[in-house]
Symmetry: C2
Subunit: 118 residues, 2 copies
């Protein structure tokens, strides 16, 4: 038989906790946005781009050279970072320089580094 947990013993017992947690959980929409933000961070190419930009603003082909990837691949990923408002850019002649747009990024990444190095 397929499980139906609406009225099983375990959840009956813990109804108080379930209701409390359900009440205090942040809005669906915010949780979705947080997941979307982490999704952007959840790719090693984008992580490497962000870490490169921690050091200095860079042009697209500069980033491509540092990471050993094609200009097209980098440009596509910069688009993702741009849409998430994580990078900003300025044009200088033919060249476009990208840099980080948000101060929270550094804090988030520092904590992440601490976690993976423990």
């Amino acid at each position: 038989m397929v499980h139906n947990h609406e009225h099983d013993a375990c959840c009956e017992t813990h109804t108080k906790v379930v209701e409390k947690v359900a009440r205090e959980l942040p809005d669906e929409e915010i949780l979705y946005d947080v997941a979307e933000l982490f999704k952007v961070f959840g790719d090693s190419t984008r992580v490497r781009i962000i870490c490169a930009l921690f050091e200095s603003e860079m042009c697209v082909c500069g980033i491509a050279e540092v990471l050993g990837m094609t200009q097209s691949a980098i440009s596509h990923q910069l688009r993702v970072l741009k849409q998430a408002r994580l990078v900003k850019y300025r044009r200088e002649g033919k060249t476009v320089f990208y840099s980080l747009a948000d101060a929270h990024i550094k804090t988030i990444f520092n904590q992440a580094f601490e976690h993976v190095m423990e």
Copy 2:
């Protein structure tokens, strides 16, 4: 013609920056692990599970009830969180209680919330 950026004007001009950034970029392996960590955070179901566990330890079917999802779906995601060493669990009879295993998670999530709410 296919672009070849090994010796173009832009990267010639910015060689200094490229070399500096390439030198200071963290190890490949660490950057990969950081991306893997964010990948785990980059799903709204897992974000909701983590936020639920911020409030209280919970059993699997309790989490399933709070999120309105099947026990199987939650169990699969808890496995991912377990493998990333983000949650721990204790058994009490038939029930398994999950809770958060790492203090960095709270800090990372607080910063993420601040970013999406600005």
